[in-house]
Each structure stands twice: as structure tokens, then as C-alpha cells.
Amino acid sequence: MIRELGALTRRELKRLARNPQAIATSLMIPILYLLLFGQAFDIGAAFPNTPAGHAELLVTLRGAPTYFSYFSAGMVGFVAVTATLFVGANVIFDRLFGVLKRTAASPATATSIFGARLLAGMLQPVGLAFLVLGLAVLVGHLGLSGLQITASFSIIGIGEIVLAILILSAMFASLFLAIGFSIEQPQSYFAVVNAINLPVLLTSAALFPWGLMPAWFKDVASYNPITLAVSVIRENLFAGASGYYPYGPAIYLGGLAAWAIAMFILATFLARRALAPRA
């Protein structure tokens, strides 16, 4: 089982690596948002340039020194959504090209076939997330607003960020795989996925400054998986940010894991049903 899982995962990663358009599309929206929204909404200018003003800005942005820094952390999390989208789409294309039929006709178990896609879906976004992170820092050196990492370097901190991206990716990869195993037409898949992506992003704390959200919005955003992952990222990127969050990264990672497990259960059920001998 380990051999077939490894072989199928390698195949998924090779396909993703050989599809530069998919990688470009995964990065396009977060980067576009970074360069447009992130630069345009410099809400720091609306706060008085006084110690009190700075303190208020820090509360509003939960410890991030600038809106762009706050927003960049959000986009690092959002990459997990845009990059995992293709994992589900590949199920549909594999069905159309007969590849899924071939795999299902082999002695490979449904667990391996599903697990390989999930693993590939978890691994790819990590690299892309750090690419977005690097780009967000880089634009600061090009005369624009850039990501200012104010926390000191910590292996545990980086580990928590990687873990947050991995779990968030696992959650969305499971969700998109669940949709991919249930829907046959690519058009329908992308319609459903788009109907999910934007509301999930817009109800999270990836874009909107926490301190400016109405209370009801905060309640909704608190349970949003992107918010949970982004909270872990922000707590580790910005010095003193932990003081603005009610919980430490472990709690947010736990909440994120609960989301991921729920989606995993749904996706494995649908994948097993799709890969079982047809009725």
C-alpha cells in the first residue's frame, strides 16, 4: 500500500509541476490581491501618527504593523485554497481521460487513490505559500508597501506556519476532492468551487481588518478555517501579536484540524463510493 501510495502521489506532483498554467492560476489571485488590494487599502494612513494612533492600529490589525503586512499573512493562507482547487479538478479530468478508470481497475485501494491526491494537495501549497510570503517581503524593497515580519526567527514558529498551511490545504483538498469525486463535468466543478471560494474568503479575517469588523462578522469569521490558519501565521510573524489573540496557535491548529477531519471524512466517503465497482 505504501508503494502504490508513493507512486500515485509522485504522479500527482509530477502532473502539477508539469502544468505551469495551474501554478500560475493558483498564484495569480493572491498576488493580484497583494498588489492591488494590499497596496490600495493602506488604512494605516487613517490613524493619527501618534503613539495612541499606532496603538489603535495594532489593535485593529491584531499586532500587524501595517495593513499590507496583515493582508499578506491572509494571502499566504488563501494560497492553500487556490492551489488545492486543481486537485479536485484533476479528478474530473482523470475521469474524462480514462486515467481514473484505469486506476480503479487496478488492485490499488480506494484509500491509496484518494490518499495520494490528498497528499499532493497538501504538499504543493506549502511551497507556493512561502513564494507569496517572499514576494510580499520583496515588494517592500521596490518602493511599495511590503510585509514587515516583526517577530524574531523561530523554528517552532516556522513549524507552526507550515503546519497551519498543511492542515488548511488538507481541509480544502478534501473539500475539493469531495466535489471532484461527485461531479462529472469540469464546468459544473468550477461553478461550484467558485461559489465556495469567494464566500469563504470574504467571511474570513484574511482581508478585513479585525478591529473594523462588526461583532456579528467577527463571530462568523472566528470559525472560518482561513481565519484559524491566518491567526497562526500572524501570531508567528508579528511580535506581540499573541497579545491580541484570545488563544495561542495550538488552539487554532486544533480548530483547523477539526475542520480538516470533517472534510476528510466527507471526502473519503464520496471517493470510496466513486471508486467502488459501479452498481
Binding site: 508503494r3 487496478s106 488492485p107
Partner: protein
Amino acid sequence: MADPVLAQNLEKVYKGNVHAVNGVDIQVHEGELYGFLGPNGAGKTTTVQMLTGNLRITKGTATVAGLDVAKNPLKVKERIGLVFQEGTADPDLTGRENLELAAALFRVPLRETKSTINGLLERLQIADAAERLVKTYSGGMRRRLELAVGIIHSPSVLFLDEPTLGLDPQGRAGFWKYVLQLRTDRKMTVFVTTHYLDEADEMCDRISIIDHGKIVATGTPSELKDKLGGDIVTVRPVSKTGPEVETLLRGLPGVTAVTMADGAFRVKVQKGEELIPHLVDACTRAGVALAGVSLKRPSLDEVFLEFTGREFREDEGMNATDRAVRMGQVQQAFGRARR
């Protein structure tokens, strides 16, 4: 030794009580090249899908490679090879990568993987294209790669589902050359579905003809053709097709049977070329104007016509599954309309 493929009273019923396969019995002997013949939509692919553990059996039993398919679908898949009628190789991987993946999935021992793949690439003449992405392959190369994937684990039984569909005559001949070589070398039992009658006639040891989900005849190609009882002379009168013409034809020397199909009489006779002068003469004398007379030696087309009462047609479009699903949908729609 037990027969590698044995099915009894096999049935597949889809929603709407549509019988795609209806009480099929199959017995394939070890080492045999067995042809499963029928037009599109007859139930060939549905049968193969059931025998290979990819489609649930509604009723009946199937034992393949010594295992009950319904109880051990994964074990059966380990022991058999399956080449689908459509391409299933990953177009974004190279030929070699596709084979490496197949070797892992079919549990080819690691130490044998490289030599097995190299051997197959050489044997099937795709070694030069092994490092190219499959999406750049020609149709013939893709079919050979499909065959390589199907036999990578040296299965005891190989199922070929319409393996030469869409290939030109040269491609078909090439594909069969490899199958026959492999069958000899590896002593595999081969179960092939096809709607190319000439292919089945030439290649298969034994054939079953399936139509509308039921097997209508089984035997060697010679046995089936012998059942026709000789040549077939097709007589197409200009206008008269009544019983008087049939009586006239029955009275000719050597005629053993006369049947009517599609506005023409099919006259069975041992030596057709000797009958034709008598037939034309008799018709002229009786005032029966002829639009055409043709002679056919016994062929599987004629066998099919004999056992099903209709011409073999290769262009019926939908396979049995599609047809059954479509019929189910139509029946459901009617059901809704009635409610």
C-alpha cells in the same frame, strides 16, 4: 485445471429494469483466445466490466483466475490484465512513467520493475518514445502502451475490450501481432471483445456471439460457419417478393433454405456459383425481374445474420451501459409524466 473464466447465468440489470446482460454463460479454457462478438450495445463491455470486478453483478456467478469475482474483486484485479477500448494512459506522463506507475499499482516486484518495463518497451516498439509524454503518441503507439500496461504484471488472463477500435488496418494488424506473440510466450488466456468480425474470425480459437444481452451462438469460427450449411446467395427482385418467388427459389437444385430479410431472399446452397445460372434462368422464365444477385461464402457476418435475424451493424453508437442508462432515464421520465 479449472477454466480461467467461468460465468453462469450472468445478469446486469440497470435502473428501470433494463437488462444489459441477460443470463450469459461463458466458459473459457486455459490458454484459449476467446472472442466475444457483437454489435455496439450488445452487452460486451458490460460483461467484461462484470468479469473484471469493475461492475457489480446483478445475478449469477463469475469465477475468473480461480476466484469468485463478486467476493474478491481486488484479488481478481491482481491476477488479470485489462485493456480498455478507450485510452487510459496518463497523457501528462511519459510512456515509461505510465509503466512505472502501473508496475507499482500491480505490485510488480521492485527488482524486476526496470527490466520488465524495458522488455515491454522494446517488445512493443515504443522504446524510442519511452521518455516522451503520452499526449504526443500516435493512436497505434497509445494502443501498444495500453497493452503494455495491461500485461506488466504477467497476468494469467488478459481481457481486451475492443482493443483495436479506431485503429487503421495496419495498426490493427500490428496490435494483433503483439497479442499473439505475448499469448504464445506467456501462455496467457485471452478474452477479447470486438465488433470486427474479420478480426474475430482470423484470431480467435472460439467465439461467442452476443446480441441484446444474450449469447446466441458459441463455437469455433469454422463450427459457426459450418452451421450455415454452405454459401449464401442473396437475390434481390425488382418488385416481386411474394411467396411465389420463395417457392420458385426453394425448387432450385441444391437449395437447403430460403429466408427473407430487408427486401431480399437469402438462399442457402452448398455451391453458390453453380446455382446462380439456374437461378437467373428460372427467374427470367417466371417473369421475376432481378435488381441483383450476390454470392457470399460463409462468414461471421452471415453467422450473425443467421442467429439474430438481422445484419451485423457496427455503428449503433451507444454501448450497452449507455443504452441501458438512457433507457432507464426515458422510463423514469415516462414514470414522472404518468404521475
